[in-house]
Symmetry: C2
Subunit: 221 residues, 2 copies
């Protein structure tokens, strides 16, 4: 990363906001400079390409996850399971406050750029992983209440897919029906795991209902 | 919709494919005409704007869901619950066959266009609803094996959010780890519902483990 510069942070902040609200392709460097209140020349000097600036914003998002996204929620909620739902509620509030225009910035960029900007993929993946680690920590902290075989990272992945899908549907429908349905179903699942955990379920004692008819074929790959 | 024309279907097919693989903004009308093997003038005549063509592709996707997406899976799988997982496996196979370049075409467009093309939102929502109806039918057909209070539409919504999130993560990571983790967790949930269903669970008899610490606050809105 380059030397600290008073404008560097302004450009990163402006780019983060514009990429999140209007996408990467729709955002020009001149607009970023204008929003940052600095001259374009200084932007080009610090970030020779738009992709350099994009990479810097993704590094910045890695850094900001804990202080800006998680800590405000973690500070008001102690229960590790409820922290997960508090986080989902945070995305809901963000959608509500922005009239659905601000989804998950990483999810948006993942869809927009994954084909066209392969160099950026590892940074998008690192942001997802950072989020997953934080949510997995919550499930790990509640391990004594969950079934022995529940895997914190796998549960965190499920929370992330639920959130990304729920944000997508909320933004398309311009209401929270699907978002709330998905989160309520996730809660039903977690409550069933907690009930199974307190009853001492193990992989051996777990009741599993198999479908009546066997599957005709299964996964290629 | 306009009169049938031999070129009309060619343009729609070409546009569907190009929008799915490279996005809406990245696709030009000239490229669509070239891919369709027809003259641009004929394209402009049938579809005066690119958004007209986009709308036609979304109507076409509504029409194609059953014959092209669902029927091939439904024909090989009888069990309604396994049909849902067969559908998820279909997206996995599509990702695999296209080296992750083909995600969910509706999900991609939803993220790309929901802010900039508000007129298109109802057609995106209709495509999601069409998919949800088909998956809800599966859960409704298995209603006798699920708990009485399980809601087919809510479960279908949860399957859709899982699929959209799982496709996003697979495309970003360029592997199926997160996709498979999400689908395995969804299966664990559905199996728990089936086990509860066969044990005659009702809302009154349902065991629910409540978190130890109450939530500090809940949903703004």
């Amino acid at each position: 990363m380059s030397q600290p510069s008073p404008n560097r942070q302004k450009f990163i902040d402006a780019a983060m906001e514009l990429f999140a609200f209007q996408g990467y392709a729709n955002t020009g460097l001149a607009q970023i400079a204008r929003q940052a209140g600095a001259l374009p020349g200084s932007l080009y000097h610090l970030f020779p390409t738009k992709e350099d600036l994009l990479a810097a914003t993704l590094h910045e998002r890695l850094r900001l996850l804990r202080p800006e996204v998680l800590d405000p929620i973690w500070m008001t909620i102690d229960d590790p399971i409820e922290r997960v739902f508090g986080l989902l509620d945070g995305y809901r509030r963000m959608l509500s406050m922005t009239s659905f225009s601000h989804g998950c910035p990483i999810g948006n960029l993942a869809i927009e750029l994954t084909e066209t900007h392969p160099n950026i993929r590892p940074l998008l993946a690192a942001n997802f992983d950072n989020w997953l680690d934080a949510v997995a920590e919550c499930f790990a902290a509640a391990a004594d209440r969950l079934p022995e075989h529940a895997d914190p990272k796998q549960l965190a992945t499920f929370v992330l897919t639920t959130m990304e899908g729920a944000v997508m549907l909320a933004r398309t429908h311009r209401n929270f029906d699907a978002y709330d349905a998905a989160v309520a179903t996730l809660r039903d699942y977690i409550e069933r795991l907690l009930a199974a955990g307190t009853s001492g379920e193990t992989p051996e004692t777990r009741r599993v209902a198999r479908p009546r008819t066997p599957t005709a074929k299964n996964s290629a790959e």
